[in-house]
C-alpha cells in the first residue's frame, strides 16, 4: 500500500519537475511564476508544496537532477574507453546536443547561472566538473596526446569556462551556429595543450563530431 502511494508521489514529483523544466528552459528564473508551473503540470498547489517548499527549492532540485543525469552520461562515455582527449571532446558535444534540445538540460544550466551563484550550488557543481575533467585530462597526458607539463586542473577549468562562456556568446536556438562556434573554440584552444603532431588528427575528429551533432541536435 505505502509502495503504491510512494509511486504516485514520485510520479507527481516528476510531473512537476518536467513542467518546471519546460518553463525554466524558455524563460529566465524571475519571469517564471509558480502558477505557470502549476497550470502546466496540472497539479494542485498543495501537491506542489508537499514536494517543494518554494520556487527556489524547485529550481535547486532541477539543477541537482540535471547534474546527476550529466554524471551518468559521462560515466557511460568513460565506459566506452576512448582516449582521454577524445572523451573530453565527446563530452562537450554531448552536453551541447542536450543543451540545445533537452528541456531538463537547458533548464538545469540556465538555473545554475541564475540562482546557483548565490547559494553555493554553482561552486559545487562546477567543482565536480573540473575534478572529473581534470582526471580525464590526466589520462590524456598518459595517452600522449597532451603536452606533459600542462596543468590538468587548469585545462579542466578552461574547458568548463569555455562551454559556459559559449552559452552566453552564441545562440542555443540556432544549433548549427552554436555547434560551429563550439568547433571553432576547440580548434583555437587545442594548440595550447595538445602535442603539435596530434593536432591535425584531432581537428578532423572535432569536425566529424560537429557533423554528427548537427544531425542529432533539434532545437527546443
Amino acid at each position: 500500500m505505502t509502495e503504491q502511494l510512494d509511486r504516485r508521489a514520485d510520479t507527481t514529483r516528476l510531473q512537476i519537475l518536467r513542467a518546471a523544466s519546460r518553463q525554466f528552459a524558455r524563460k529566465s528564473y524571475s519571469l517564471v511564476s509558480l502558477d505557470d508551473i502549476l497550470a502546466d503540470a496540472e497539479v494542485t498547489k498543495g501537491a506542489m508544496y508537499f514536494h517543494f517548499r518554494s520556487k527556489h527549492a524547485l529550481a535547486s532540485a532541477i539543477i541537482e537532477h540535471r547534474a546527476a543525469a550529466g554524471r551518468a552520461s559521462v560515466d557511460q562515455l568513460l565506459a566506452r574507453k576512448l582516449s582521454g582527449l577524445e572523451t573530453l571532446i565527446d563530452i562537450s558535444y554531448l552536453v551541447a546536443v542536450e543543451d540545445i534540445g533537452d528541456e531538463s538540460a537547458r533548464a538545469g544550466l540556465n538555473l545554475l547561472e541564475s540562482i546557483g551563484r548565490t547559494d553555493g550550488l554553482q561552486g559545487d557543481i562546477h567543482g565536480q566538473w573540473v575534478t572529473a575533467f581534470a582526471a580525464i585530462a590526466r589520462k590524456a597526458i598518459r595517452d600522449g596526446d597532451l603536452i606533459a607539463d600542462r596543468d590538468s586542473d587548469g585545462i579542466a577549468r578552461l574547458l568548463v569556462s569555455m562551454y559556459l562562456g559559449l552559452r552566453q556568446t552564441s545562440n542555443l536556438a540556432e544549433p548549427e551556429r552554436f555547434l560551429r562556434d563550439l568547433e571553432k573554440l576547440w580548434v583555437l584552444v587545442l594548440p595550447g595543450f595538445v602535442k603539435p603532431e596530434r593536432i591535425d588528427y584531432l581537428n578532423q575528429f572535432i569536425k566529424r563530431r560537429t557533423a554528427v551533432a548537427m544531425k542529432r541536435a533539434t532545437p527546443l
Partner: protein, 219 residues
C-alpha cells in the same frame, strides 16, 4: 524471493564451474560428474537446471554472446560516426573475449557446435545483422565507399574478426588477439573506406591499436 535468488546463485555456480573445466581440459573431456564435483553440488541440483551437457553448453553460448553483444551495442549506440564505433566496438569485444571467461568459453563452444546448435546459428546471424546495419550507416555517412554491398561488408567484418580471434587462440592462447584484430583492420580498411576519409582512418586505427597495447602495459 529468497529461493529464487538461491536458485540463480546455484545456476551461475554451475556455469562458472563448467566454464573453468571447459577452459582447462576442453568440452569433450569434461563429464557432468566433474562439473558436479567442481561446483560442490548434488546431481539433482545440476539436473534441475540443465538436462544435459549440451544444454549447459547452450546456456554458456547464450550468456557469453549476450555479454559480447551488450559490449558492442554500448559502443555503437554512441553519438560517434558509425565506422568509428564499428572499429572501436570490435576492439572492445575482442578484448572482452580474451578477458571474460564466460565470453571466451562461449566463443569456443560456438565454434565447436557451429551448425549443429540453434543458439550458435542465432548468435552468428544476430552479429552479422547488426554489423550490416552499422555498415549501412557508415556508407550513408560517407566513410565507407558508396558502391559497397552493406551485407557483404558486414559479413566480411564479422568473419575476419572471428578468424583473427581463432588464429590468436590457436597460436598464442588468445594472448595477443588485439594485435591480430589491429592487423586485420589494417588490411581490410583500405579496401572499404572512402577516399576522403582514408587518411583519417589510418590515424584512427593507429591510435586505437596503440591505446590497446598501452593498456595492457599500464593496467
Amino acid at each position: 524471493m529468497v529461493r529464487q535468488a538461491r536458485s540463480e546463485a546455484t545456476r551461475s555456480k554451475i556455469i562458472t564451474s563448467a566454464v573453468e573445466l571447459f577452459n582447462e581440459i576442453g568440452y569433450p573431456a569434461t563429464g557432468l560428474g566433474d562439473i558436479i564435483d567442481r561446483a560442490e553440488m548434488t546431481k539433482g541440483a545440476l539436473y534441475y537446471h540443465f538436462e544435459s551437457k549440451e544444454s549447459l553448453a547452450t546456456a554458456i553460448i547464450e550468456e557469453g554472446s549476450a555479454r559480447l553483444s551488450e559490449a558492442f551495442r554500448s559502443i555503437t549506440s554512441s553519438s560517434a560516426p558509425a565506422l568509428e564505433t564499428i572499429i572501436h566496438g570490435v576492439f572492445v569485444v575482442a578484448d572482452l573475449m580474451s578477458t571474460d571467461q564466460i565470453a571466451r568459453s562461449g566463443m569456443q563452444l560456438l565454434r565447436a557446435f557451429g551448425e549443429f546448435n540453434d543458439a550458435a546459428a542465432r548468435t552468428y546471424g544476430g552479429w552479422t545483422a547488426e554489423m550490416t546495419e552499422c555498415t549501412r550507416q557508415a556508407i550513408d555517412e560517407g566513410d565507407l565507399r558508396g558502391d559497397l554491398d552493406a551485407q557483404a561488408v558486414g559479413e566480411t567484418i564479422v568473419g575476419s574478426m572471428l578468424g583473427a580471434e581463432l588464429l590468436a587462440n590457436a597460436t598464442t592462447a588468445g594472448a595477443d588477439v588485439l594485435q591480430y584484430v589491429a592487423q586485420t583492420w589494417k588490411v581490410l580498411l583500405p579496401a572499404i573506406v572512402s577516399q576522403e576519409s582514408s587518411s583519417y582512418f589510418d590515424e584512427f586505427l593507429a591510435r586505437e591499436a596503440l591505446r590497446h597495447s598501452a593498456e595492457t602495459v599500464a593496467d
